[in-house]
Amino acid sequence: MTDITNTGRIVPSIARKRFGPMQYLICLKGILVREGLRYLNQRERFISSLVRPLLWLFIFAAGFRQVLGVSIIPPYQTYVLYEVYITPGLCGMILLFSGMQSSLSMVYDREMGNMRTLLVSPFPRWFLLISKLLAGVAVSIIQVYAFLFIAWFWGVKAPVSGYFLTLPALFLSGMMLGALGMLLSSMIKQLENFAGIMNFVIFPMYFASSALYPLWRVQEASPLLHKICLLNPFTYAVELVRFAFYGQIEWTSLAVVCAFTFVFIAGAIIAYDPSRGLIIKKQEGGNN
């Protein structure tokens, strides 16, 4: 075997400056815009993301209003309607489903090949993943506010300032749940396996939390379930949002959500690292 020698052609030496903050911003903007465009192109996704919590609010909450009384517990200073109680939980539900939807979208992108476009970008992998995460969170926050807007007309109202103050809580909770979705997407080999995520992640996380019932009620019914709820990070995301609606910070929830956000993001970055990650294992038995 002989190696070919240089043909003698001169390749123009292209000056390539290292990426500065502006290039990073351009990249982030591009990922945000693409996620937004995809979302706009999938109107049914927007509608279904709204219908789900609205069904809970209009039907479930209305039906259970008389059955599930809520005593005065922080942050509420008076008795509240059950609809008011579950609204932060339904916001959490939107974030949870949206986070998992992003996970589904990443698996789909990986199967369709679109994910490769992102992963061969020269920007650091951690930056690309966090940008994608931010884009997903931005979309899910829009869904939450659309839901809150409709809920307002249903008579579920928080103090006006609460709608602004809850934004950071929604952002943090969205980051945590989105990062969890991203981590899970690295573990899912095929799109078909996503049903498992529904059964083993979304439903247990949602029901074993304070989204639908106060924890004291859960404790009365089942001390074991109460402990499970306390171990569930989604409980803390819901409580963080609930307190933020009334201009309060629930510090334990804040600390737990921050910690889990960090852990899930770190896990997702490692999982998508080609030299260390889980994603590489999904290729086994793949193309040649």
């Binding site: 001169i10 679109n114 193309n287």
Partner: protein, 268 residues
Amino acid sequence: MSPNAGLKDVQGKSLPEASIPALELASVSYAYGKRQALDDISFSIPPGRFAVLLGLNGAGKTTLFSLISHLFATRKGRIHVFGHEINRRPGDALRRLGIVFQARTLDLDLSVHQNLSYHASLHGIGTREANQRIDELLQSIDMSDRLHEKARSLSGGQIRRVEIIRALLHQPSLLLLDEATVGLDIKSRATILADIRKLVHDNGISVLWATHLIDEVNHADQVIVLDRGRLVANGSVNDVVKAAGGTTINEAFSRLTGIVALNPGHRP
């Protein structure tokens, strides 16, 4: 600061990009579990060269592309793109790479412009500059009128051509194309191949063109033949034909890979 700043000759002088191989693989191996997909692959491609990576399905071409593009980590061996080791400096290496994957990677729900703009942003190219480059590149393939059409409405050949100009948008020095003409009609195949060869000629871009179609090989090309994960030939068409003991590249490829000649009449 030039990203080549770290590349120096023995006297400590910075090396210009033109004097460094566009792509250099040294003893690269890769296994999926116990199945060896690539075994001790070494070759290099000089700047401005059109290299054809020939191999049957399952030869290891896509695995090799995944390693070069850093989708997979190189666990054994070294890969350098214009002197930048892909594992150590993936950003510097990837900036010089334009990649067209075997699978279609355009987002079918987005327009041609949105797809190309997204790619530009993934390379840190601002809107104004991106739009200018998009216009120029689309003009070069006579597709300016399809700018705002959804990718879904394009034919297979048009999608492929958009993917190629997308790979060129950030002005790479090395273009990787993995079975870029698979599934296309003869006319589209010929057009795409001619476009790429023109690029090499006009701009001095290096190309690694993976295919299993022998009629895509040209006399002036560097030919690299993979067979079941092993490099069985590397050189000019004449060198490969001579080394395999055949009379045509088609015959040489058949001998090297143990298949019956598909098109004995073809003599590149």
